[in-house]
């Protein structure tokens, strides 16, 4: 049986792992290479590495850091942040990334999704979708949650799937950093309208949050609860297994 995936996320700023609450107030959480190694050894099913300042500062993603991390880990690895054109994707894959997560650039130019999928395959294309509820509607946000777009999140998810996204990394902005549980409403809305795997992100605070979200999501992503050792991955996986959730 296909297993539900537990994915630690390494938010990177200036080469260090950071984690914000509601996307601001960044706190230092350690060396990304050390964290990546530790997670891989502990049983993380995948890693996501987001250069969260890349888009805003117009910087290219830290290729060298990606190379260092990929040398150390033997699990799949997604990189996002600052991808603005097709060449960026090629550079990241060459550096050792297995998948790329594209957010702002895809909103600006949806054809970029089709181009990536056609050239590199949909297995390496993750749509980064940051959503928040605005006047009762799920809206897409870009630039690390700073800019509200006109796009409806559900329609955008469907379009991305059609264009060849292999997966959606779905972050609920109202939940991100709150530790009050994943966004069940948002995740359900997206999973029922798409056929590709969904990684739920934002709000993980306790083991029960994972139990709940795994009734609909294929994978769950979290950062601070792992970075600060609040819920060790082996303990999380043991508990979920006891609840008969398919876990590696």
């Amino acid at each position: 049986m296909l297993k539900k995936r537990i994915i630690p996320c390494l938010d990177i700023k200036d080469g260090r792992t950071v984690k914000g609450v509601n996307f601001v107030n960044l706190r230092d959480a350690g060396d990304p290479v050390e964290l990546a190694k530790a997670y891989s050894t502990e049983g993380a099913d995948e890693l996501v590495f987001l250069d969260i300042t890349a888009t805003v500062d117009k910087r290219k993603t830290l290729i060298e850091l990606v190379e260092r991390i990929s040398e150390e880990i033997n699990i799949p690895f997604t990189v996002g942040g600052g991808i603005s054109e097709l060449e960026d994707v090629g550079d990241l894959l060459k550096a050792g990334a297995d998948k790329v997560s594209v957010n702002s650039a895809a909103v600006k130019k949806p054809e970029l999704l089709s181009e990536i999928a056609d050239l590199y395959g949909n297995q390496c294309l993750v749509l980064g979708l940051d959503a928040n509820k605005v006047h009762g509607e799920w809206k897409v946000f870009t630039r690390g949650g700073r800019t509200e777009t006109k796009l409806n999140a559900i329609e955008w998810a469907k379009e991305a799937e059609e264009r060849g996204a292999g997966e959606i990394l779905l972050t609920s902005m109202r939940k991100d950093g709150t530790k009050s549980g994943f966004d069940v409403e948002l995740t359900e809305a997206i999973t029922t309208e798409t056929k590709i795997p969904i990684i739920a992100s934002g709000g993980a605070g306790k083991i029960e949050d994972f139990t709940e979200i795994f009734t609909m999501a294929d994978a769950a992503l979290a950062a601070s609860i792992f970075h600060f050792g609040e819920i060790p991955i082996p303990q999380l996986k043991t508990k979920l297994r006891q609840q008969n959730i398919p876990i590696r």
Binding site: M1, L2, K3, K4, R5, S40, D45, S70, E71, N74, I75, P76, F77, L93, K94, A95, G96, A97, D98, D118, L119, Y120, G121, N122, Q123, C124, G166, E167, K195, I196, P197, D218, A219, R248
Partner: protein, 194 residues
Amino acid sequence: MIAIIDYGAGNVKSVYNALNRLGAESLITSDSEQIKGAHKVIFPGVGHAKPAMEKLQRSGLDEVIKNLKQPVLGICLGMQLMCSHSNEGDVSGLGIFTERVRKFEGQIKIPHMGWNELIDPKGSLFEGITEGSNVYFVHSYFVEMGSQTSAKCEYLIPFSASLRERNFFGVQFHPEKSGEIGSKILSNFLNMNS
């Protein structure tokens, strides 16, 4: 020396890194002489079957691969291209394996993405690997079950997780991304007699 075939279809670096972690010297190459002269050959690949097959044909690597006598390991799309035919782009493959490649259908998420269990793993590639070991898959097309199937997996239906024909091996999953189990499988491949 292990040759990792680079024909412009996907992530060869992670295979290189995985071999490096196992202490094996490898070379990312598209040079047919280097491939022919290697002790072992890894044929990776991700993406769409049709452009990948066309790249192989343009470079003449299709004939090179078919005629290799040393152990060859096709990974993911690499294994699928070693089959007789793929429905992805309706292309003929290298024909090393007689099985055919089809797309997943039905009430399941596509791609089949994540960790899934190996069922009935057989042969030298899976020495020390127990039934139910989890490995990492990511694919929308699969190889049907057949006489060359050496391990299977289930995703709504059973399919070939691995194939074997003489010196040719194929794995649908990514051993280079499958943690300790994957390392063990790669290590078994490296330890085969050339």
